[in-house]
């Protein structure tokens, strides 16, 4: 900028630091609570420096859950969450990338109809068709299965759009050259389109992994067995009700375990994350 206003810069830093602190405060308290004993955590006011129970609390929830609330161990829940997140991300990308390929690179009857069908799913979030979808899943014997957690969520209008937009920017000469060289559609897809789509796939993957990991309503509906809980559902089940009867130190340790994997994905893959977010929503 052409001007020098040290006070304005100073104010900007103050506001940003304030913002960062307020945003980070719940995380800090969560971490502290996860290192305390039960008695320390229900003492008012709770102390804001780390205690020495960290290893004990985390080991306890990973292997045996809480004592007063749900006794389900968190380690298998983390595994379920991971399977669900990977399944949703890979599933969405896989079926979207091939349907976008069909819609852009082929002319066939019903092409536009199929495209609109995929588009309309945007307008039917799980929240507006809770019970009928549950019934379908139950009729198909998908309750309490990993497939049941994943399959109903893998249709993706946004991913299909993103790949379609991207394919439309690829020069026609590439497809032409591939055809002259005798490559069929499958070969062209595999050897040309897929390698070109790498960055889009990475960006989408980050967004969809987080989306899958953080699902709440669907797993809440279709998991009834403890061994099928995802970690986000598991935390909810640990709250025994009443402020002082819940073991907040253990709940907060579980909360840390539930938010760390997706938070690490965001921070470590920030470049892909930002790209994915900005492009899928436009």
């Amino acid at each position: 900028m052409v001007e020098n206003r040290p006070w304005a810069d100073f104010a900007a830093h103050v506001i940003l630091i304030l913002g960062v602190v307020v945003v980070a405060f719940p995380l800090y308290v969560t971490f502290i609570a996860s290192t305390l004993t039960y008695d320390q955590v229900i003492t008012v006011p709770m102390k804001l420096t780390p205690g020495d129970q960290m290893l004990h609390n985390y080991a306890q929830v990973l292997s045996a859950g809480s004592e007063k609330g749900s006794h389900a161990a968190v380690l298998p829940m983390l595994l379920n969450s991971f399977i669900m997140a990977m399944g949703v991300a890979i599933g969405k990308i896989a079926i979207s990338i091939i349907s976008a390929f069909a819609i852009v690179y082929f002319r066939f009857p019903l092409r536009n109809f199929f495209f609109w069908m995929i588009f309309v799913t945007l307008m039917l979030p799980i929240e507006v068709r809770i019970i009928p979808t549950f019934k379908v899943a139950s009729d198909l014997n998908l309750l309490d299965t990993h497939a049941g957690l994943i399959l109903p969520l893998i249709a993706s209008a946004t991913a299909t759009f993103l790949f379609r937009q991207f394919y439309l920017t690829i020069p026609d000469e590439l497809a032409e050259a591939a055809r002259i060289d005798g490559a069929g559609p499958v070969r062209f897809f595999w050897d040309v389109l897929l390698p070109l789509s790498k960055t889009n796939i990475a960006a989408l993957f980050v967004i969809l992994f987080i989306l899958g990991w953080n699902q709440y309503l669907w797993p809440l509906l279709i998991t009834s067995k403890e061994e099928m809980y995802t970690v986000v559902i598991g935390i909810k089940r640990m709250i025994a009700g009443g402020d002082a009867t819940s073991e907040w130190n253990l709940i907060m340790a579980t909360a840390m375990l539930a938010l760390l994997p997706p938070a690490l994905v965001v921070v470590l893959m920030q470049k892909w994350f930002v790209k994915g977010l900005v492009e899928t929503e436009k």
Partner: protein, 293 residues
Amino acid sequence: MEKRVVFQSPWLPYALVAPQIAVTVVFFFWPAAQAVYWAFLVQDPFGQSSQFVWFQNFTDLLRSSNYLESFKVTAFFSVLVAGSGISISLLLAVMAERVVRGALIYKTLLIWPYAVAPAVAGILWAFLFAPSIGIVSYWLRLAGVDWNWNIKGDQAMLLVVIAATWKQISYNVLFFIAGLQSIPRSLLEAAAIDGATPFRRFWTIVFPLLSPTTFFLLVINIVYAFFDTFGVIDATTQGGPAGATQILVYKVYNDGVKAADLGGSAAQSVILMIIVISLTVVQFRFVEKKVQY
């Protein structure tokens, strides 16, 4: 836009769209159609038989004060979440654009809450604000506030608004930063040379040029408040106390899953569908046009 060069195959394109179409039919269209069908039925209490009742479920809903209350709660909630989320994020994004040193660090420290599940966000804030043991409740009591969101409806609303907004700030900040970066530097520099203060430059140049981003975020935030905050509500207030935070989505779940009122819940689903469809149409029509002054 269409491709000039295409491949020929009588069956391959169908095979390629088949998985996606199968999922949309089985898990989207069929259930949605059933929700619409059920919305016109009334089941007897034992679930044995059902009767076609035309619009009775809808008229019952519109006459139920409970449902109208839930509509009001949802409107209030989404206005608060969208309004506070957008204004706080805009402030932070403008400041982050201004500073040269540390901009990337600030950005990283602001975006991570995007990764937190709404239900977990709810639990974190519920712990801070827990009436008897929460640290923030303790400070509030020191300041003379009688804090107990288990009993007081407006405090429960404040809690879910804070939790929902907190989670969404990162998203808004990222879009505002992207929007700010697309504003030509030359415009701002010219205004600065002419003596416009940063404050004035913001209101006369930056804010108008950001209006497409702001409008886009407004729609996205309203959709978020309507649908994605289910986890926040379920993990904290569960719609209470006395329905003070019972947003429409939560009521569909409560009536359908917990109270097993199939017809009434399906009718609510249909109303929600109409809301999503109109929001999506607004988003696509107006975002394309790029709102401008």
